[in-house]
Symmetry: C2
Subunit: 289 residues, 2 copies
């Protein structure tokens, strides 16, 4: 998916929010906005947003001197989600269709996203995970390819599960436990926004239910050209890929392979791209032969 | 009031929206964002947002070749408000406190603002003026200096009323008709966003109830240093100033004179500055001896 011009005001919002998380020095924040402003000319609209976001977050790290501004936030939401884990399991156990309930919960966890935000000037959002989980279970999907998903799942001996945010990882674990197949869980290669890295996945106990693999990427998405050979090998031979969240969708939406995108629609650009409303839950399959 | 860093993402949003109103050529929109990006470094945070906005809108006009992108929009909302005029008058007539009702309606009209917007990617907003008017009448103020306003009004032989947006002008007319004093109605010197100019005020029949005066300013606010001598003379000797909307507040908030700011709070920056919530109705007096 390409970068829309509409992504650009949002980049500035993210830049400001991220900088303020690591410093109260407004001069640094000013410098970040000045520098990001000067970078706009160099952004390629043919690239997906995470490719341009990658450049921007590098610049922020350079100016603030902090390569992992969301470290505390990531731990906080992983801890909160771990506390919620028994509750999530209980929801699944009590559901008639356990797999379907687990998918909904995995999407509920996708709310923990500090990249896609639309309200200005709010301090970093407080996500109410329990409320989100309860609502997701009752809610209908805006796009749903569940029958095909089940079919693909049955036909696959192993699943490549590309994770998104820290904390969401725990919700992913609940789904992984319902897949009934060996899973490779993919994390980012370096800290980027609040996306899950190897360390974050370990904290969420993902290693108990899956093999954790880094994509090698330092962007908030899966930019295939930047992925490690090890990841590419797994990806190219995967029978079924689960792609979580907007950033992975943005970078993998043009792929014609057995991919299912699981996400909560959090921004108007993705909503327009998918032809749905902001806030919707999506389980959508890629086109492939 | 100074420009907050939070204004900068909003500037980009406004730039994109404005450009798309006059052209479907996304290359032009791209050029606008590139150029505005490069301008950020030159923005003064010590200036109020309309001073920086002025520079940005000049750049947009230069790139698109259109100095008045909101011309149609302004006419549309003036026409819609004129149709609503009898209904507004009816509300006032049926109210126990007619002045208070007219103030609320004048603030309801302040919703017609194409500068302050917070949702990305929406096509230019459709404002439901009738709904806004009905809601305003029932709603309470978040800041209200009504007793002092009435006192100042009684003590003044003439009022300087600084207007804001086209269409809102008609709502202002309803208030002017309840003030019971001669009024000078101030408009912008040149088209800027959807702010009312002399022509727009005439279309709203303001000349039937007030003397229309241009501030001489080409910014979405009343930047005193850029105002005409004629305006400054009236302003400096005014016994009572009514300042409508955010842009006028942003440029006049530091003034220690008998000014009453009437506005609907439309953005988080103004909300923070005033210590209230977005959406609130404000009738606030300046500090003066």
């Amino acid at each position: 998916m390409k970068t829309y011009l509409d992504c650009i005001p949002c980049f500035f919002q993210q830049a400001l929010q991220t900088t303020r998380m690591v410093t109260s020095d407004e001069r640094k924040a000013r410098k970040v906005l000045d520098e990001v402003g000067a970078m706009i000319k160099g952004f390629s609209l043919d690239s997906p947003p995470p490719e341009n976001g990658r450049l921007m977050y590098k610049k922020i790290a350079e100016i603030t001197g902090n390569p992992d501004p969301f470290k505390e936030i990531k731990r906080k939401y992983t801890d909160a989600a771990l506390k919620l884990y028994p509750f999530l399991k209980q929801i699944v156990v009590q559901s008639e269709d356990k797999l379907f309930a687990a998918i909904k919960l995995a999407i509920a966890g996708n709310v923990i996203d500090f990249g896609a935000k639309s309200s200005l000037m709010k301090s970093p959002g407080e996500f109410d995970l329990e409320k989100e989980a309860k609502e997701a279970v009752k809610k209908n999907f805006v796009l749903l390819d569940y029958e095909n998903f089940k079919e693909s799942l049955l036909a696959s001996s192993e699943i490549l599960y590309i994770g998104d945010n820290a904390g969401e990882t725990v919700f992913d674990r609940v789904l992984i436990e319902e897949l009934g197949r060996p899973v490779i869980y993919v994390v980012r290669g370096k800290p980027i926004i609040n996306d899950a890295t190897y360390e974050d996945a370990i904290e969420a106990d993902i290693h108990r239910v899956a093999r954790i693999l880094s994509s090698g990427v330092d962007a908030p998405g899966t930019i295939l050209a930047r992925c490690s050979d090890e990841f590419r090998k797994e990806y190219d031979s995967a029978q079924l890929v689960i792609s979580k969240g907007q950033g992975n969708y943005e970078t993998l939406s043009a792929e014609e392979r057995p991919i299912f995108y699981l996400l909560k629609v959090k921004c108007p650009v993705i909503a327009q791209e998918m032809g749905v409303e902001v806030g919707g839950m999506v389980l959508k399959q890629a086109k492939w032969d």
